[in-house]
Amino acid sequence: MLWEIEISSKSGPDREAEHALAEARMCRLNSLATVRSARSYLIEGSLDNAQLQQASGVLADRVVEQVTVRSLPDHSEAGQTERLLNVLFKPGVTDNVGATATKALQELGFEVERVSTCRKYWVNADSNESEVERFASRVLSNDSIDRVLFGPLQLTSLAVGSEQDFELKHVSIRDMDDEQLKTLSQTGQLYLSLTEMQTIRDYFRELERDPTDIELESIAQTWSEHCSHKTLAGRIAYRDENGERHFENMLKETVFAATQTIRKNLGDADWCVSVFKDNAGIVRFDDKQDVCIKVETHNHPSALEPYGGANTGLGGVIRDPLGTGLGAKPVCNTDVFCFASPETGFDSLPPGVLHPRTVMRGVVSGVRDYGNRMGIPTVNGAVYFDDRYLGNPLVYCGNVAMIPRGMSEKEVHPGDYIVAVGGRTGRDGIHGATFSSAELTHESEELSGGAVQIGNPITEKMVHDVILEARDRRLFNAITDCGAGGFSSAVGEMGEETGAEVWLEKAPLKYQGLTYTEIWISEAQERMVLSISPDKWDEFNALCESEGVEATVIGKFTDTKMLELKYQGESVGSLAMSFLHDGRPPVIRDAVYSPPEERAVNLDSETIEHGEVLRKILASLNVCSKESIIRQYDHEVQAGSVVKPLVGIANDGPSDAAIIRPDLSGKRGLVISCGMNPHLGDADPYWMAASAIDEAVRNCVAVGADPERIAILDNFCWGNTERAETLGSLVRAALGCQETAVAYGTPFVSGKDSLNNEFSYVDGETSRTISIPSSLLITALGQIGDIEKAVTMDLKSAGNVLLLIGETHNELGGSHFNLVTGRDGGIVPRVDFEKAPKLFSAVHELIDRGFVRSCHDLSEGGLAVTLAEIAFAGGLGAEIQLQKSGVDATVELFSESNTRFVLEIPSEHLADCHNVLEQAQLPAAVELGHVNESSELVVRGSDGTVLIQDSLKALKQCWQEPLSRF
């Protein structure tokens, strides 16, 4: 029997309906005049009336909601005045609420088989048929996870999946010619190159047999760009204005090499513990604990289904530290997003593209719901806007975690059980690894729907709890997460040195009907794979049971160096680990970089209204307040919060970095910040990379981090690197990373790349491709010895002196000044590799000695924006006198030169500050002026001309307005 419990609001606004109607208006679905909504539970089982009544009491909040119960199918007449639309998840899509309701009702002793959730909408009956359909498909649902049923529900059952007969499939690859191989690669969603397909064919010709489907899939997963980083870790012939250079392994010779140089320079003082080898990088924290960090991208799934994509993006990256060493405890998250402008017109959207506003809302909610539910504070982040992210938004999710010292190494022992822990395996997320390596097209939505998933953070939290307990009891020998490629990648990687035998039918399934190959490559969420000695299994299993976590032995590690896959006792795959991991032919790519010609910016001073420019920059999407997003994240759970993302007299100023204290009984803190500026990449990727590192480091230093202890991470998101120019700009950025990291002594400890971030579509007859701007995110993980020495960016007291530290050059290339005044050209900000590290040390010394009341870095919008932000955040005015006038004052105000800070210093410490800089042989600091009580920011040129005079209230309003209603 199938029942529906429909729940709607008793009184008060119908927010869901209001939201839907507003979206309909934006899509110009003008015939939709009224919308009302309800939610419902579809319950399959045998329940009597009293039980249905009781179930309603649990599922609905009777103080504010009303309930209607009916049996399905619903034979009532379609309404005269309204049309009904029911939105349900497609069969097999994770329905967390449904699953929890099922368990809750079963616990009450009811005979309930399963519960699904449904959203219901009623629109005015005289609405236009095709508009209602667009409303259903554009506003109410996402085709990759939802289905819409019109009229009273006619469902009779919620059952999904049915038993499938086992059938072993072979692929006759040995007879295939190049064309057939290419076709197989595409239609089978293997996304391998022809050379790779040929290598596979030749391997099986040698073995004198055809591969099974599962063998081909295993190879495709392992060889995917996502899992093997074959392009950047491959051979590259690079050419630029300085000549040619050949890389055998580009990443190793640039980014990794920087770390090796730094570690060598540090000698015994080396504080890296485990870098570039595990799921996350690990560095020293204190005597008891090390700290690890990882940042991942989840771009393609987020383009198709923003909520689920971002949700599982964060869920996935949390599993990385959890699967690092013998398991680390997550303590905070960092998230950076790139979108097209939320003001993009609906009419200008290419086919298959979700509106940036929809993407942004979904992504933020997805990250919010996973992080908040896991109880991990999201303390740092950024959002960048550029119209080239339209079809291909970027979602970077990062996690920082603590691991007891001495637990950074793991080792699989032959004979250990292969144990799957956590979520069950379903048909979700199939081909995620290979899909993420392909270019997005307007057909992706249909083709790759299975790659989209919704996470269950509570399952992951439960897994997290048992794993940390099992770690402390030393119940397992090795652990890794099930990410892209599912069991295929996890078991394949863990067993690389030993060998493994997997019994696929043992894997617990969400529903019947999965083939052995689907079980093997499913990327269902919230799963970890552990290597457990048989003598520890009982204790481990008991621990899992005690917390309601499912753990299953799905095979054992062997010493055969073979990957043996079995299903119900029958061999379905047998591959040499060596072929899987080392058999891939090297990728050889050309890379070219030719620097664009430098052009000066036109700075006709007559036309520049400095106050107006400042307001425009404050109101630009990249600079403006992100409070509406930040407040949705729990940034204080775990009670370690020291410097929050928003600071100041009204708790709304933009903090440079976050500080958390991972051990509540200690004084040491972690500092998390990031640096990114895609605008600079168009002009010069080398200096973009240097600037991103500088920005991440100076953000860290600005709140008090010790510059000698900052670890950094690289995340490259680029366009199609099969184009030599695109790859060339990436190599150029990697070279910038290398030189800057070495100069700053900031080792890269982990990184990730996401290539092929392009969106192709057909516009009438023409086929078009939008490639994202070169987007390098640098995440910095700093440390502060004593959290009580931290400083924030908001002005503190009238009378204090404002000091500008660092040199300002005419560097307006890629600046926000150019952006808001419609200019281009100019030199992009560079970095002085010798002075910058000294300057960071000096600023740190000033903060550490307690001379500094507030500190803020200079970045987008230069000095002008920094002054405005510190003033309105502190609720205090400032009177500033520049060193220059005229055109030079414009540069002084808006140049985005790197390695600069504004410090607020009580006058009694002024002499000390000048001394510190002098002893570091740095240029003298500029005394800009004083903090005052005036509630106005006044900036004069050296000739006394007032360039900016504006109230703090107005400046703050400009800055807060743009995304406030998001």
Binding site: G57, V58, V63, M374, G375, I458, S546, A639, V642
Partner: protein, 343 residues
């Protein structure tokens, strides 16, 4: 906790004195009061009226030395009850430990297996998080389990001289289980009657993390003794108190059940006339009825609140500690001290 106390607790668990108590719950034995002349609430005053209890309690408090870590002070045992999805259990247990209690994180499954587990504790705390994902409503599944599977155990616990605290999701659980606002005797396993109040979606419709100013409105609630004002962060999506019938407020106020209200700023005067006007966001961050942020039961031994006092144990957790040069303890710690000091 030192070894002397452990021995004493075991002693009291088996003592005849305890068996005569209706609840059978462990409480510090009377005998200890004679050996340690302060710090314990005398069991013999169990049947006294609330007010006289408080008087006794105050006298005891005044006799206490200021050093809270004094070796012979007995520490009450705190059960920090966690369910799947609970995520503030570590810091909440830490808060009780800092306040001098002995806190243990106990999984709900252990209590479901053996309800007697709860008898070892004097304080029950349901911490924040997303129990069962808040999937069918915040705190609903956890609350339903307390209501249906542990009804007798919870009743027995509440009727004894114990304290119960629910923070954020814990407050939601106390409401959905019926423990609040009625407290002992009121909780009902029948689902026929509609509850008088609920915590539901914030007026903004979204999860919000921000610091709020609170004022204490109850002179009866044990947790709020000596607290007039308090700043703490909220972090929730479903924290808006709504009632079936607004007239319930009168009874709540008479019984001292309105424990905490959102207020305009830390210096705001507590004039009664303005209290019912719902303040705008962000002062009242969720649109709560009568600006209520926390509710107690009529006995004053149960408190549920949406803000997180365990996120203000240290000055450095305050959003403006760098402006105000704050150092040392955070004001939220007092709630946990009050609980520990009750015993």
């Amino acid at each position: 906790m030192d070894s002397i106390e452990i021995m004493d607790w075991k002693l009291s668990e088996n003592s005849e004195a305890n068996k005569t108590r209706s609840s059978g719950h462990v409480a510090p034995a009377c005998a200890l009061i004679s050996t340690v002349s302060y710090g314990f609430r005398p069991v013999c005053s169990h049947d006294d009226s609330r007010n006289s209890k408080l008087v006794v309690r105050d006298q005891i408090l005044r006799q206490r030395p200021t050093d809270r870590n004094l070796r012979f002070m007995a520490s009450p045992r705190v059960c920090v009850l966690r369910a799947p999805g609970t995520n503030c259990d570590h810091e909440t247990a830490h808060a009780f430990e800092l306040a001098g209690g002995v806190a243990e994180r106990v999984h709900l499954f252990r209590v479901l297996e053996n309800p007697d587990v709860l008898k070892q504790f004097q304080i029950l705390c349901i911490p924040g998080g997303f129990s069962y994902g808040d999937d069918v409503g915040a705190g609903v599944v956890f609350g339903t389990q307390l209501k249906t599977r542990l009804a007798d155990t919870i009743q027995e616990f509440l009727q004894a001289d114990t304290l119960t605290l629910g923070i954020c999701n814990g407050f939601q659980v106390l409401m959905k289980s019926g423990i609040l606002p009625g407290g002992a005797g009121e909780q009902s396993s029948e689902s026929s009657s509609d509850p008088e109040a609920t915590l539901t979606w914030n007026e903004s419709g979204r999860y919000t993390d921000l610091w709020v100013n609170l004022k204490s409105c109850s002179d009866r609630n044990v947790f709020l003794k000596g607290i007039e004002q308090l700043e703490s962060p909220i972090a929730h999506a479903e924290g808006r108190l709504r009632v079936s019938d607004e007239s319930v407020l009168k009874a709540w106020e008479e019984n001292g059940q309105v424990a905490l209200r959102y207020t305009t700023c830390s210096e705001a005067d507590a004039s009664e006339s303005d209290e019912n006007t719902v303040l705008p966001y962000p002062e009242n961050p969720n649109g709560s009825f009568s600006n209520i942020a926390g509710l107690g039961d009529p006995s004053g031994r149960v408190l549920g609140l949406m803000p997180h006092p365990e996120r203000f144990l240290f000055a450095t957790q305050h959003p403006q500690w760098t402006r105000k040069n704050l150092r040392g303890d955070g004001a939220g710690l007092q709630i946990f001290r009050n609980a520990v000091d009750y015993f």
